[in-house]
């Protein structure tokens, strides 16, 4: 018997903050194990967005009236909260975007397009999400640069054996996932930062999973850019952030033009506003940014050390319980301290979509598919995996429900 060591976080109280966790799916209490896809939202986030629309809605950085000033203060206040959450030195290191994907694209088109040429190289790993692959493929088309990859080893860690050979003057950008959305693997950011420095390349970290699931000090990480999104950390969809070093932001061109991002506009030429506004063309997602601010407040109140500790506990429990199910194969590091809370698996010849349907009937939401990581699926030699992923509100009871439903899947497929 495994003792679930989860008393540190007052889970029963915390779950009450999430209205959707009180609902049912297919007549069963909802067991939401898809936080790596998107997280559920606590009332504190919903209330902050609602209050913004009820009390303070106006366009930001424009009107001279008091309401517009209030809207601007809430929007910029949210930027300050996100900046403090990642330990940025200043709010201007945070550019609000539409999410992780648009943050990475902003660097690809704002920096990559203007600094890469024929024969230059971009180094990625084979565990990257499509969001950290496809933008670079597009940039290669525009510039004649080429992509090179670090593989994954048998323990599902990034294989650094061939790194030295790939680090030379042709290398201009390294893109690395801080935490894999499929394997849970924590990316070797520090090693890659050091490698990049030796040849003056830049490092962009896909922080979509890393920032929500572990305490971060982005300036100390050593990377040049870190992309992350609100909706994977209790915030709303439609808003994310790009953290960047001030000197890198200065080297970056705006990928989008429009209102808000200008200093002066003539008929043929314009000049740009200062960072971060230079990269925020058009009316931003104001209420969503406010919700993002409330989400990081919520996480800070729990404490990110506690978030991480809970995640290690629940992942550790899940890995042990899943190991009891015959013919179940987990794809990812076995050490809970070396990984995040996304656990991918397959069960005998039961296709992941069939598993997802069976679990759905039990009220359990998991992801089945390629997880926007088709190159990784080819490396793992599977068309798809099932994935259970955890967050602050996940309980051992929910893991137990998952394991029971997997036994039911075995029965339905004649494996019992």
């Amino acid at each position: 018997m495994i003792d679930p060591p989860l008393e540190r976080v007052d889970l029963s109280r915390l779950r009450d903050d999430f209205p959707i966790l009180q609902t049912e799916m297919n007549g069963r209490p909802l067991v939401y194990l898809d936080s790596a896809a998107t997280t559920q939202k606590p009332v504190q986030v919903l209330d902050a967005m609602d209050a913004y629309y009820r009390e303070a809605n106006a366009n930001v950085h424009r009107g001279a009236y008091a309401l517009a000033q209030e809207a601007t203060e809430r929007y910029e206040g949210a930027r300050g909260k996100v900046a403090r959450f990642v330990n940025a030195d200043s709010s201007s290191e945070i550019v609000f975007t539409r999410g992780t994907t648009s943050s990475i694209n902003m660097v690809a088109y704002g920096w990559g397009l203007h600094h890469l040429g024929e024969g230059d190289r971009i180094l990625l790993t084979t565990m990257e999400h499509h969001a950290n692959v496809v933008p670079w493929q597009l940039i290669c088309r525009h510039t004649g640069a080429e992509l090179v990859y670090l593989p994954i080893d048998a323990d599902y860690m990034v294989d650094l054996a061939g790194l030295d050979e790939l680090v030379d003057s042709r290398l201009k950008i390294i893109g690395i996932s801080g935490m894999s959305n499929v394997l849970g693997t924590i990316g070797p950011v520090a090693v890659l930062v050091e490698a990049a420095r030796s040849v003056d390349a830049i490092v962009i970290v896909d922080g979509a999973q890393m920032v929500p699931h572990s305490p971060v000090d982005l300036p100390a990480l050593g990377a040049d850019f870190v992309a992350f999104g609100a909706h994977k950390m209790l915030g709303p969809t439609g808003v994310g952030a790009l953290w960047g070093r001030p000197e890198r932001f200065e080297e970056m061109e705006p990928a989008e033009g429009g209102g808000e991002m200008i200093r002066d506009v003539g008929l043929h030429e314009s000049s740009w506003a200062d960072v971060p506004h230079k990269f925020e063309a058009g009316t931003p997602p104001i209420a969503e940014a406010v919700g993002f601010g409330a989400a990081v407040d919520y996480l800070s109140a729990i404490g990110m050390d506690e978030v991480r500790r809970h995640e290690i506990d629940i992942t550790s429990y899940a890995l042990q319980r899943l190991a009891e199910v015959p013919d179940l194969k987990v794809y990812g590091p076995v050490d809970p301290a070396a990984r995040g809370g996304a656990v991918s698996f397959t069960l005998a010849d039961v296709h992941p979509h069939d598993l997802a349907t069976i679990l759905d009937q039990e009220g359990i939401a998991i992801r089945a598919g390629h997880h926007c990581a088709k190159p990784l699926m080819r490396v793992l030699d599977v068309p798809a995996t099932a994935r259970a992923s955890f967050y602050v509100h996940s309980t051992t009871d929910e893991v137990d429900a998952l394991v029971s439903a997997l036994w039911e899947a075995r029965r339905l497929f004649g494996l019992a």
Binding site: H353, D354, L412
Partner: protein
């Protein structure tokens, strides 16, 4: 709707031992079907003898519903005239869309395919069962 009615034994049998599996060296028609959302894949080869499907071979990867549907479809359409194929196609699409209390499924006509009627109660899975049929549609359209 219980899962036992979805995952009937005959479906699992077709999933694990697909009929008409493989490809043809000189097909008269070929089509690839792909569901980008879930990754199910079907590759389909056909030969004709006049107006009749003389051979059909299917290869693919995917869930039990898509692969069983493909295997059952291949079994059913092999030897059929094009008109018969069109008729079966129509009946299958109808079976996937019947509301509760609707028209009875003609098991004599549908054969093993009737086992897939449970799929319509799982709306997100209907596209899995449909994939081989839309692929067949595409292959047939090449011919006309």
């Amino acid at each position: 709707m219980s899962l036992d009615q979805l995952y009937r034994e005959v479906i699992l049998d077709h999933y694990r031992s697909p009929r008409h599996s493989g490809s043809l060296e000189h097909p008269d028609a070929h089509a690839d079907g792909h569901n980008p959302l879930c990754g199910d894949e079907i590759s389909l080869d056909l030969t004709f003898d006049g107006d009749r499907v003389s051979d059909i071979r299917i290869s693919g990867r995917g869930c039990s519903i898509s692969q069983a549907s493909a295997s059952m479809m291949a079994n059913a359409v092999s030897g059929m005239t094009l008109d018969e194929v069109r008729d079966l196609e129509r009946r299958f699409k109808e079976m996937m869309s019947i509301e509760e209390g609707g028209e009875e499924i003609d098991v004599k006509v549908m054969g093993d395919l009737a086992a897939l009627q449970g799929v319509r109660r799982f709306p997100v899975r209907i596209k899995c069962a449909d994939l081989p049929w839309t692929t067949l549609d595409e292959a047939l359209s090449q011919r006309s």
